[in-house]
């Protein structure tokens, strides 16, 4: 059996489909012929006439930020690679999409694999890389087969392999499958996994695999969607591309909306084009009849939760260029990296989980605590023990065994994980507990006091 054919709904007027332009065409299939018919591999041809440094400059000028969660400027990351250092370089595409609430790379891998391959070969050319891996989580078994097949097709047409399109540039690409561990999405863990070791994240510094990465050589690790954007930066030109977003956050972003909305799904929007309210009520059709908005996790499960009636005090640039204080309501929060950061959360992987007034916050947090307890790799004691303690406490609270001190204990455990671990999983598992407690204290106290 194969996956059902995927039909994308027509775009909302605010949407601007670049990554999903092909996929939203009726009858589009993942074959190379279809891709070429839709202008595929033209950007690669253009790239091969450019100097690698020109491509890196274009990516820098595009203000493309990583789409995997950390949001690091892509061109800056690439510029850490020294072209003439005499070392082999590697690119590893992070297709380990596992952040709860995020489901965009799945569709690219299944339905438009050549878009990724074209972006990857351009990226490899720009960074003087001859060997690349696409790391795909094993829970996407069909995607792995589809991408393998696409690589073979591209090889047969001279887009991958030796002497690509007669340019003298070589690049081999292989698919590597994970084995069910969320931690492998952390870039240094992913490299350990690819090296065949237990995927314990590496100690920093060095902070960037571009310094010491796969096999201790300079390595670029980028998310699937990020690599796909590279192709479009060349196609549209970096200025045109950057114009779509906000300063410092260029291009489109695929927002994945799930939970209690009428039309869950993913929506490709220019960065900063909509507020949270527009996303939930205009684009996703609002909540189910009679329900009220209660909470939103805006950037994947690790992002701090926002409460519906919250009012944030943020600093914004006034008309005279001075920073002024401004109050904004939760629904007026603009969906871009800067605004979500200024309200104490993050855009992360842009996985938006919406919860209405029927949801109990202790229950929701417990679900996430169980996730993090299961996925902690166990390398660092605060995270290995702490994530399990938090999960045990919230589970006990829900089972009717709440104790008055539970909220305080949860807070104490979470506060002692964040900042004390090798990788950002420590923060990722502490932030839900910290933010749910801060935003919904009355619910936690009530459940703790229940007898």
């Amino acid at each position: 059996m194969t996956a059902q054919p995927f039909v994308m709904p027509p775009p909302h007027p605010k949407e601007r489909r670049i990554i999903f332009e092909n996929i939203s065409q009726p009858g589009y299939d993942p074959s190379i012929d279809t891709f070429i018919k839709h202008g595929g591999y033209e950007s690669l041809k253009k790239a091969l006439t450019m100097k690698p440094v020109e491509i890196i400059d274009a990516v820098k000028a595009s203000n493309l930020r990583g789409r995997g969660g950390a949001g690091f400027p892509c061109g800056v990351k690439w510029s850490f690679i020294k072209h003439d250092d005499g070392k082999p370089h590697y690119i590893v595409v992070n297709g380990d999409e596992s952040e709860p609430g995020t489901f965009k790379d799945r569709y690219i891998l299944h339905y438009d694999p050549h878009q990724l391959i074209e972006g990857l070969v351009i990226s490899a050319y720009a960074t003087n890389t001859h060997l690349s891996y696409i790391y795909i989580r094993c829970e996407f078994p069909e995607a792995a087969g589809i991408v393998w097949n696409a690589i073979e097709e591209a090889k047969a047409r001279g887009f991958v392999g030796k002497n690509i399109l007669g340019s003298g540039f070589d690049c081999d690409i292989y698919v590597h499958q994970g084995a069910g561990a969320y931690i492998c999405g952390e870039e240094t863990s992913l490299l350990e996994s690819l090296e065949g070791k237990r995927p314990y994240p590496r100690i920093k510094p060095p902070y960037f695999p571009a310094v010491l990465g796969l096999y201790m050589k300079p390595t670029i690790v980028n998310n699937v969607e990020t690599i796909c954007h590279v192709k479009h930066i060349l196609r549209l030109g970096p200025e045109e591309y950057a114009k779509m977003g906000t300063p410092g956050d260029g291009g489109t972003r695929t927002m994945c909306v799930s939970g209690d909305v009428v039309k869950p799904g993913f929506y490709e929007l220019p960065a900063g084009a909509v507020t949270l309210g527009e996303l939930i009520f205009d684009i996703c059709g609002g909540l189910k009849p009679g329900r009220k908005l209660k909470a939103v996790i805006p950037g994947g499960s690790s992002a701090k939760v926002l409460r519906a009636e919250e009012i944030f005090k943020v600093k914004v640039k006034g008309a005279d260029g001075q920073m002024v204080d401004k109050e904004i309501k939760m629904l007026d929060v603009v969906m871009d990296a800067a605004t979500l950061g200024s309200v104490g959360s993050m855009i992360g992987s842009a996985g938006v989980i919406v919860m209405d007034d029927t949801r109990e916050m202790v229950w929701a947090l417990n679900n996430l605590n169980q996730f993090y307890a299961h996925e902690s790799c166990g390398q660092c004691t605060p995270c290995r023990e702490g994530s399990l303690w938090m999960s045990k406490i919230t589970t006990r609270m829900l089972d009717g065994g709440g104790q008055g001190a539970d909220p305080k204990t949860l807070q104490n455990v979470a506060d002692n994980i964040a900042g004390r671990t090798v990788c950002a999983f420590g923060e990722a598992c502490a932030w839900p507990t910290q933010s749910f407690l801060a935003k919904f204290p009355e619910e936690f106290e009530a459940v703790a006091a229940e007898k």
Binding site: G101, Y215, G259
Partner: protein, 183 residues
């Protein structure tokens, strides 16, 4: 460890490594070529290939893969015990992996998992601890059911990965029909 209906690996009379064929070895050789810098990188794909062929990874499998990649058995064993995907015991012919995480849970995945268990004759409350043990498996060996963490399809929740196929927007009513496709 909770009891499962799967066979105890220690009681197995045949070692998986004794069933390795020349075709199997040729496939392994090809996989190793994907990793020109370090053979050790092939350990995950070899474990996948092994488990896909034999249904699980027994001691002989760990030793065979280690020897093939010029590693110590512990280098392979520590992967089998880390990654949730690998198991030391055979599971059912069809493995139903229901997503447990937030968006799916909000859409009813706990009920979905219980209904799957009932539909294939398993105790809905049977616990599964991982660590290489097979998920709860029906007496006829046809089905295993387990919870897994986020399958990255939150927009079409609740979902389940059944063998290699994702089933989306599952309702309790649709479950008998889905199970029927795999009978």
């Amino acid at each position: 460890m909770t009891a499962t209906t799967a066979a105890d690996p220690k009681a197995a009379t045949t070692r998986q490594a004794d069933q390795v064929t020349p075709e199997f070895e040729a496939a392994i050789d090809e996989i190793v070529t994907h990793y020109p810098v370090s053979k050790r990188s092939a350990s995950l794909p070899l474990l996948h290939y092994w488990q896909n062929t034999f249904g699980s990874v027994d001691d002989s499998g760990i030793e065979w893969i280690a020897a093939r990649l010029e590693l110590q058995p512990i280098n392979i064993y520590e992967l089998v015990t880390f990654y949730p995907w690998f198991r030391r015991e055979a599971a059912g012919k069809t493995i139903i992996r229901v997503c447990r995480t937030l968006a799916c849970a909000m859409a009813g995945s706990y009920e979905v998992k219980e209904k799957f268990c009932s539909a294939v004759g398993l105790d809905p409350l049977a616990e599964h601890h991982g660590f290489g043990e097979a998920p709860p498996t029906s007496a006829d060996g046809k089905f295993s059911v387990e919870f897994v963490e986020c399958l990255a399809s939150c927009g079409s929740a609740p979902v389940a990965l059944i063998n290699n196929t994702l089933h989306e927007k599952i309702t309790p009513e649709s479950i008998p029909g889905i199970v029927g496709q795999y009978q």
